[in-house]
C-alpha cells in the first residue's frame, strides 16, 4: 500500500518552496497514485524557458520501491526517449532509496537535463547526434522546447485572469491549468467539479 501520509507531506513540502525551485508536484486524479510533476528547463541549456511535465505513477511499495516517471512533454535529450518519454536514470531503477523523495527525483531529472550522459543513452539517435554534431543537437532540442514545452505559456496570464474573475482562487487556478496542460476549458471543467 502506498504510504499516503508521506505523499501528502511530500506534496506540501515540495509546493512550499515552489518559488525557489520551480518544481511542483500535483495529483492528477484524487487517489494520489497518479501525479504530475513540473520542472522548468535549466537556464543556459537548450531547454531554458520550457516547462516540462512528468508523469508520475506510484507503485504499491512506494516509498520502498521507486516511483515510475516519464516525460509527458516531448523532449530531445540523449537519456530520454524522444518517442515514449522514458527516462534512463539510475535512481529511478536500482539506485532508488526510500530516503529519496519525488522532489529529489525531479531535481535529479532536472540535473540530467543540464548534464546529459551520452555514454548511457536511452535514445540512440539523439545520443549519436549529441556526440557527433552538437550544434544540430542543440538547435533541435531548442526547437522541441519551443514547440512542445511552451504551448501553455502563451497567454497563460490572460487565462489565469479570466478564471480568477470567475471567482476561483489564483493559486488553484494556476495549479489546475498546469495539470491539464494549459487548456482553459478543461481547467474550468475541473475547477467546477472540484
Amino acid at each position: 500500500m502506498v504510504d499516503f501520509s508521506r505523499v501528502q507531506k511530500e506534496l506540501q513540502e515540495c509546493n512550499r518552496d515552489i518559488n525557489v525551485s520551480g518544481i511542483s508536484v500535483n495529483p492528477k486524479s484524487d487517489n494520489l497514485t497518479n501525479l504530475i510533476g513540473t520542472i522548468p528547463g535549466p537556464i543556459g541549456t537548450p531547454y531554458e524557458g520550457g516547462t516540462f511535465k512528468i508523469d508520475i505513477n506510484l507503485p504499491d511499495g512506494y516509498p520502498f520501491e521507486p516511483p515510475k516517471m516519464k516525460f509527458a512533454t516531448k523532449v530531445w535529450h540523449p537519456n530520454i526517449s524522444s518517442q515514449s518519454g522514458a527516462i534512463c536514470l539510475d535512481i529511478l531503477k536500482d539506485q532508488w532509496s526510500p530516503a529519496l523523495t519525488l522532489k529529489t527525483a525531479l531535481l535529479s531529472i532536472q540535473a540530467l537535463l543540464s548534464a546529459p550522459e551520452p555514454d548511457d543513452p536511452q535514445d540512440a539517435v539523439v545520443a549519436q547526434q549529441y556526440l557527433k554534431d552538437y550544434q544540430t543537437f542543440a538547435s533541435t532540442a531548442r526547437y522541441w522546447t519551443e514547440s512542445f514545452a511552451k504551448i501553455s505559456s502563451l497567454g497563460v496570464e490572460e487565462k489565469v485572469q479570466k478564471l480568477v474573475e470567475m471567482g476561483f482562487p489564483e493559486g488553484l487556478v494556476r495549479s489546475t491549468l498546469e495539470v491539464v496542460g494549459g487548456d482553459e476549458n478543461m481547467a474550468l471543467e475541473k475547477l467546477c467539479s472540484a
Partner: protein
Amino acid sequence: MDSEDDMHDANDAESLDDDFYSGETAMDSDDGDAADYEFIDNDSDDSDDLLSRRSQQNYTILNESDIHLRQEDDIMKIASILSISNVAAAILLRHYNWSVSKVNDEWFADEEKVRRVVGLLEDPRALPNVKELTCGICFEVYSSDSMRSAACGHPFCVTCWQGYISTSINDGPGCLMLRCPDPSCSAAVGQDMIVSMASHEDTEKYQRYFLRSFVEDNRKTKWCPAPGCDYAVDFIVGGGTFDVTCGCSYSFCWNCTEEAHRPVDCDTVSKWIMKNSAESENMNWILANSKPCPKCKRPIEKNQGCMHITCTPPCKFEFCWLCLGAWSDHGERTGGFYACNRYEAAKQEGVYDDTEKRREMAKNSLERYTHYYERWATNQSSRQKALADLQQMQSIHLEKLSDRQGQPESQLKFITEAWLQIVECRRVLKWTYAYGYYLPEREHGKRQFFEYLQGEAESGLERLHQCAEKELQTYLTGGPSKDFNEFRMKLAGLTSVTRNYFENLVRALENGLSDVDGHGGSSRTGGTRSLGAGSSKSRGSRSKGAARSSRATDDSAHWSCEYCTFANAKSATVCQMCQQRR
C-alpha cells in the same frame, strides 16, 4: 598369461589407470574358480561404496547442516583473525564470495579501503542525542528511543525500517548486502539488525538466502540439480572429469550442472537440450523475449529503459542488450553504443545471420533430428527402467536369490555391479546419439567408424542386459544349481568386458575420434578394428604401460598420459583428456 588377474583389475574400479584393453581376455576365460571371487568380495565389503568407488573423489557432498557448519566455521575464523564481530565477518565474507583467504589478503593489504567498500564503519555512531527525531523516510517525528539506525547513526523509525527490510528481502538475495537507506551513506546493515526487525516469514527467507549464498556465490560449491535434492557439492577443480555423483545418487556434470554426459562435451549438451525443448512454448517465449545474462546465464526480460542492462544482485554484471558484451567495452573508444557498433559489425560479418540460417536448416532437417532424438529418449527410458530394476534387485531379489542358491548376499555383488554397469552404459549410449547428431555429415570416415562403434556398443550392452535380466530368472525360480558359479563367471565377465568397451568408447569419442584422419590412410580406419578386441595398437599400449619411462619416446607423434594413458598429440603440453601436465 593370467586372465584372472586382468579381470581383477577391471573389477577394481579404484585403479582407474589400469590397462583398459585388458577386458578382451577376460571374456575367453572359463576356468576361473570361486576362490578368486571370494578375494574380490573381501576386498570390497562395503556395498554402499559401489557408487562412489566408480569415480575419483575430487569432491565432497554436503548436506544442509554441513553447509551451516562450514559457513559458521568460516565466519568464526574471520571474526577471530580480524578481531571483529561475527556479523561484520559475515558481511565481509559475503562480499568476497566466501573466500576466507581473499578476505584475509584484502583486509591486511588495505583495511581502510575494505571497510569503505563493504560499508563497515570503524567508529559506530549512535543516534543524535536529542529527545525527538524526524524519520528520514516517512518524515514523522518520533521520540528518539523508538528510532533505529545502522552504525552510521542515520535515524529511521521502526515501521520504515521494517518496510525497507521487507521490500529488500522480497526483492531477492540483494538483501544480504543491505545498506543504510540514506542515499549518501554506504553503512552496511548487519544480520542482527535485520533479524531483530523482520517478520518471522521474512527472517526465514533471509536465512535461506544467507545459506544459499554460501553455496551459490562460492566458486567451489554448487547445488545438486536433482529435483528435491538439498545436497551441495564441494568440488576441487583440476584433474579428472567433472562428473559428480551426489548423495541422492544423481550423477551430474559439475561444470554445466546438466546430468552426467560423458562422452559429449558441455556445449553439445546445452545445444542438444535447447534443441529438445525448442518446440515447447516456454522456450519459445524465453527465446523471443529474453536473453541470458552473459555472465550468470539467468534469462533477463527487458521491459523498459536503455540498452545498458545491470543484472540483479549478486551478479550485477553490466552489459549491452544488443551485443551482450560487457558495458565496460562500450565507449567512445570502441565506436559507441548508441547503435552498438559491435552488433552492427557482427551483423555485417554475417555472425548473426549465420545463427538465423542455422536455425532454418535445423527446421529442414527435422527428420534427421527425430531419428537421433527417439534413440536418445529410448535409452533414457531404458536407463530409468534399469534403475528401477536395480532397486528392486537390491530390495527383493538378492535376498531371495541368496536363499535359493545358498549363497551369502556378500557373494552376490556381481549382480549389483552388472546392473550398475547397465545403468551407466545406457547413459553413455544415450549421449552418443547427441554426439552422432552433431557429428558433421561431411566426415564420412568418422561417421562410419562412429556408427560401427555405436552398433557394437548397442549389441554388447544387449548381451549384458539379456544375461542380467533373463538368465538370472532361472536361478531366482529354481533350486540350488551347480551352474550358478558358471553364471557368475559369465555375468561378471560380461560386465567387465562391457565396462571396458564403454570406457574406451567414451575416450574415443571425447578424443573426437582422432584415430580417423579424413583420408583414412592408416590401417586404423573405421570398421577395421573394434575397441574391445585386441589389435596391434592396443597391445602396443599395454607394453607401454609396463615400461612407463619409455612411453614418451615410444611413438614419435604421440605421448601417453601418465595418469589416464591417453595418447596426446606431441605438441600438447597438457593431457587433453584429464588435464594433467605432461
